[in-house]
């Protein structure tokens, strides 16, 4: 771009002040990038540096030891996170995709706009508030903390993201594809499910994975729903450990051994999240639609 400017103005040179200002701003913008990337590098660097030494077989297979004893691991927290995420997806993914289908295929009207707006509002609700609501809805009625309550909280957080991406992806499918199916006598619901939704599959999966990555690290909504547990638990009606909760508890504890474990747990959590985000990126770069590229 600067080439254009200088060559056009060989007859009337740009003043030193203006050129200086231009250079200064370019420098400042590049500086901003460096300053923003610095914490990213620092966070990842420290996670690897502090975390890798504490990840071992025991960490991945054992449950926490009492404070003061060395060893032990976060196996129950990893399993608990998987359980809570599974329960959350069980409710969140179908509802999210269904609402997305509604918005794309039936919701091109004022009511659709209301739903769309509500989904965006829900997306901005702080996660701690979702925790309060799940506490009121599930924990109070059940009488105790449980994996289900955590799952409900995570599902509420997943739904708006999945809804909006599903809608966006379905709208990418050309209308001609729908019309071709109708022309062959395929009913509308069949067209939506096996033609439109199938064409947009990779895009929809992208949205699901993004929602998944977003809630996988959530701690605040689990504080008073899943609550945490220092033992194995497979019952969905019982308090359950979760990786982010365990990291939080260990990080604010006064024990060095627990701090090390917090770093190790954080490293595992971030690897899982970055892996899913990168997978999404890879899928997205190949195109959101089947056979479209």
């Amino acid at each position: 771009m600067s080439d254009i400017v200088t060559s056009t103005f060989t007859s009337a040179p740009v003043s030193l002040y203006r050129r200086g200002m231009n250079g200064l701003v370019t420098f400042a913008a590049a500086g901003a990038v460096v300053m923003v990337l610095a914490p990213l590098v620092a966070v990842f660097g420290y996670l690897i540096y502090k975390g890798i030494g504490s990840i071992n077989f025991a960490f991945l297979t054992q449950i926490p030891k009492p404070p003061g004893e060395s060893g032990g691991g976060m196996a129950n927290a990893i399993a608990g996170s998987a359980l809570i995420l599974f329960l959350g997806s069980l409710a969140g993914v179908p509802i999210g995709i269904g609402a997305g289908i509604y918005l794309a295929e039936y919701g091109r009207n004022r009511f659709g706009n209301v739903i769309r707006f509500t989904a965006d509002v829900l997306n901005g609700v702080p996660s701690i508030i979702v925790g309060i609501v799940a506490y009121g809805l599930v924990v109070l009625t059940q009488g105790h903390f449980s994996a289900v309550a955590g799952g409900v909280a995570l599902a509420i957080m997943m739904i708006p993201t999945i809804t909006r991406t599903t809608e966006e992806m379905l709208l990418l499918v050309p209308n001609a594809v729908r019309e071709a199916a109708y022309g062959l006598g395929v009913s509308r619901w069949r067209t939506t499910l096996s033609i439109t939704l199938r064409t947009a599959t990779s895009g929809v999966i992208t949205g699901v994975m993004l929602a998944f990555a977003r809630v996988a690290g959530e701690t605040a909504p689990l504080l008073f729903t899943a609550f945490g547990n220092t033992y194995w638990n497979w019952k969905i009606g019982q308090p359950t450990a979760a990786l982010p909760l365990q990291i939080f508890t260990y990080a604010i504890s006064p024990y060095d051994e627990w701090h090390k474990q917090a770093w190790a747990g954080a490293l595992i959590l971030i690897v899982l999240i970055v892996a899913s985000v990168s997978a999404v990126r890879l899928v997205a770069s190949r195109g959101m639609l089947k056979g479209a590229n």
Partner: protein
């Protein structure tokens, strides 16, 4: 193009195989269609129901506190669970100050990053940079908190806060005349308002910068070319051609960042010090609306205590909703002209 043709044919050919069956069942399909559309409508209504439930839960569970304290709940500063006297002012103060401070730190950086990515950087670097800044948004709050406790806080305690106190400590002479502590006065604990603001700033940057990028991309290319053709340098082009057109949307991004900062819980809870006090010093510990819920909800004994915490949640909910709606409106004013990405 003969290449993609067969692929599209294949997509459509799948149901065509069972064409006979579908045509025979044409009578049933009307019923099935209706059931399907109702099911999808049900899913969409779930979204409405969830927001309704949130409002209902927060409103009913905070009623007790509302009746006991009324509006003065938010203007009183004593938080005394033992005597069941609750005032949320320290939390409002902590939330507002930490968020505003975070925005002051984050906005110039975020806009700088957006300008660099969209207008300055070479094409091959663009994708990678955009992805990396978005990666910042993917890091969970609890990991930021962990990093802040063990890396940022010691850094602030040992170097940054003593440095600030030394070179900017003179500001307290003025504030003392007004009856306040200076902003850089007091013992440098590391943990406190400044640490919370910095970690919030790091978390808010990717949001503000991605919205800024979005609205900058929405500015028509002709605007840039026109300004350049008038002999502007690149910076003058960005300032008059791009930033001026996108300013409402950028402001929307900033407001969206504010919404995120107001509701952010874990990272702030881990570094702000969690002490319900109002201090003008940035080195002093504070407390926010979200972190008091996170810390005390499980231990809240007594109905009034719990109800007061839920009322704090309700206030936080209402404020973030208003902030988010405002932000969406502002972004929409810039991007409405461009064809929606999803339209064919």
């Amino acid at each position: 193009m003969p290449g993609p043709q067969p692929v599209i044919n294949k997509e459509v050919a799948v149901p065509a195989k069972s064409e006979g069956g579908l045509l025979v069942n044409a009578g049933d399909s009307q019923f099935a269609d209706r059931v399907f559309s109702w099911a999808m409508l049900g899913c969409a209504l779930c979204v409405l129901a969830i927001v309704g439930l949130i409002v209902y839960e927060l409103a009913t569970k905070s009623r007790l506190s509302w009746h006991t304290f009324g509006l003065k709940f938010f203007f009183q500063s004593d938080w005394d669970p033992v005597n069941e006297h609750f005032g949320a002012l320290p939390f409002v103060f902590g939330t507002v100050v930490s968020s505003i401070l975070a925005l002051i730190l984050a906005v110039p950086l975020a806009v700088g990053v957006a300008v660099f990515i969209t207008e300055m950087c070479p094409r091959w670097l663009r994708g990678a940079l955009a992805f990396t800044t978005e990666l910042l948004a993917a890091i969970p709050s609890v990991i930021y908190g962990l990093w802040a406790i063990f890396v940022l806080v010691p850094l602030l305690r040992e170097y940054v806060e003593p440095w600030l106190a030394r070179y900017f400590g003179w500001t307290s002479e003025f504030t003392h005349k007004l009856g306040f502590q200076g902003p850089f006065e007091g013992a440098p604990y590391g943990i406190g308002m400044l640490a919370a603001a910095i970690i919030l700033a790091i978390m808010v940057v990717p949001i503000v910068s991605s919205i800024t990028r979005e609205v900058m991309t929405a500015v028509p290319q002709q605007q840039r070319e026109a300004v350049l053709a008038l002999g502007a340098t690149r910076w003058e082009m960005i300032r008059t051609g791009v930033l001026r057109n996108a300013r409402a949307g950028i402001f929307g991004g900033v407001i969206l960042g504010l919404g995120r900062a107001l509701g952010e819980t874990m990272a702030v809870t881990m570094v702000i010090g969690n002490s319900p006090q109002i201090s003008a010093s940035l080195f002093a510990p504070g407390y926010t609306l979200a972190s008091v819920i996170a810390n005390e909800f499980n231990e809240a004994t007594g109905d009034t205590y719990l109800s007061a915490l839920v009322e704090i949640g309700l206030a936080l909910f209402i404020v973030t909703i208003i902030v988010n709606i405002l932000a969406q409106f502002l972004v929409w004013t810039v991007t409405r002209g461009t064809p929606a990405r999803a339209n064919v």
